[in-house]
């Protein structure tokens, strides 16, 4: 999100929360054709309890009433839901803008044209390597080709400023300029986000998260590119280097953002799918708005946070202690430094953890494909590994 506050301290008011989220993430399904090694929602198989079409539309109507400007739709792979296009139209017809993330599997020439014709839709194509080898090592064989084909269709349909969304890893930080060139080639905008140790990301975080030197490289690169490269405000822990990056520079969990998962559970943020951060469910009486306004968890997150071990650090005012989810899933105290604290305070704590990852919190659910993730090299079908469940989608549940 690009924010231009009329007063620099206005952001302080956000710490007390808003009447409704500015935007929220809504994961429509846990089903996915891919098995990305770092999937933050441990997606793969559809959950039989996922919201029905009717219930999903009711949630959209509620978001309209709350004047939520737009939803970030994700998954899983949202476009494999048979009612995806129906829900997209329902949202944009009801003044709820849609920005959705996709691996590109269902972006054909026809769907690209449909998207280009809707002013209230934005598309983010996920790509975690500027080359097939780097991308496919994390996202699975063939995923680079799928994404590139989607980008070509979107560009050909006349879609402008769609996003190429990259999770920054140790292996793709050296490709930042290549990503930018790729985005420019398609008339797209580059969006870089932070690798979180959430979902399956916890299993690969130690090996994939950027080194300290790469973090500095990323920070300098982002400063040089300013507003032209989007970050979803996900690198505010880098503000500890000195100058803050563009954006809100604050943990928005439960204050300005939250997550609705495929079964309707509401979490403080997309990277915190764990009962510790579960605020309620949209199916409960009062729906989503009651969860947003009254959940005990959200009320607590909206009270002033204290620096804890970070309080005496000169940079606490800029980095605010970093990302709650990153701390939680690496087993660090929530009122201490971020595991990737640029002053090195987190690294020290990480070395003190018990070996073997015992005692680390596990995500609430795991919808990973049961049959050998990642999908084997020999499987070329883009839907390989996807278990399609017959038409329960619009059934009685929900």
């Amino acid at each position: 999100m690009t924010a231009t506050p009329t007063s620099s301290r206005l952001v302080d008011l956000f710490e007390y929360g808003l009447d409704a989220p500015i935007c929220l993430t809504w994961e429509l399904t846990y089903a996915c054709n891919l098995s990305c090694a770092h999937c933050l929602s441990s997606s793969g198989r559809r959950d039989p309890r996922e919201l029905s079409t009717a219930k999903a539309k009711a949630v959209i109507d509620e978001l309209e009433a709350m004047q939520v400007f737009y939803v970030n739709i994700g998954g899983g792979e949202p476009t494999v839901r048979p009612d995806f296009w129906e829900l997209l139209d329902h949202a944009t017809n009801h003044h709820v803008g849609v920005k959705f993330s996709t691996n590109g599997v269902r972006i054909t020439r026809e769907t690209a044209e449909r998207l280009a014709g809707n002013d209230y839709v934005d598309v983010q194509v996920s790509l975690d390597g500027a080359t097939a080898d780097v991308n496919d090592a994390v996202r699975g064989p063939g995923s680079y080709a799928t994404a590139l084909r989607a980008l070509e269709h979107l560009a050909a349909a006349g879609m402008r400023n769609f996003k190429i969304s990259v999770v920054c890893t140790r292996h793709n930080i050296p490709q930042l300029d290549d990503f930018k060139a790729l985005a420019d080639r398609f008339g797209a905008q580059l969006r870089l986000t932070r690798l979180r140790p959430s979902g399956r990301g916890a299993d690969v975080w130690d090996d994939l998260h950027p080194t300290a030197g790469q973090q500095r490289e990323l920070y300098d690169w982002l400063l040089a590119h300013g507003d032209n490269v989007l970050t979803g405000d996900s690198f505010f822990h880098l503000a500890g280097y000195g100058q803050a990056l563009p954006g809100l520079n604050l943990c928005g969990a439960g204050r300005v953002v939250c997550l609705i998962d495929p079964v309707g559970d509401v979490y403080a943020c997309p990277f915190a799918i764990h009962e510790e951060f579960l605020a309620g469910n949209v199916r409960a009486p009062g729906g989503f708005s009651r969860v947003w306004r009254d959940s005990e968890l959200f009320r607590r997150l909206r009270t002033p946070q204290h620096g804890g071990a970070c309080a005496s650090c000169a940079f606490y005012d800029t980095c605010k202690g970093g990302c709650m989810a990153a701390k939680f899933f690496t087993g660090l105290p929530l009122d201490g430094p971020d595991p990737e604290c640029v002053q090195g305070h987190g690294e020290k704590l990480l070395t003190l953890r018990p070996v073997g990852g015992s005692g680390l919190p596990k995500p609430s659910g795991d919808h990973s494909h049961r049959t050998g993730a990642p999908v084997r090299d020999c499987v070329e079908d883009p839907l390989a590994g996807l278990r399609l469940t017959p038409k329960e989608e619009n059934g009685a549940h929900g």
């Binding site: 924010a3 009447d19 737009y70 002013d119 209230y120």
Partner: protein, 91 residues
């Protein structure tokens, strides 16, 4: 930054959504996908009065502003015009 012409008609851009908040309001422009904030409720009242007022000055006065507040609120409107949140109205 060019000054706001208070003596002409203005309106919110048709692709802008306004959401009142305790501190003022949030504005979201679906065309530029930019978010802005109104830091007080009186500025919100001015913005909401634009569509029905013959001039921005009239909208300010309708929102209860005093003459000596016009330049300050005019500057706030100019910021909004610069980011296309507020646009000139011809009818």
């Amino acid at each position: 930054m060019t000054a706001m012409d208070l003596d002409r008609a203005w309106d919110l851009h048709p692709q802008v959504s306004v959401r009142p908040e305790p501190f003022g309001a949030l504005l979201y422009h679906f065309g530029t996908r930019r978010l802005s904030f109104l830091k007080d409720r009186r500025l919100l009242a001015v913005v909401q009065a634009l569509a029905d007022a013959p001039t921005a000055r009239a909208a300010c006065l309708a929102a209860g502003l005093a003459e000596d507040e016009l330049s300050r609120y005019g500057r706030a409107l100019a910021v909004l015009a610069q980011s296309s949140m507020v646009v000139g109205r011809t009818s």
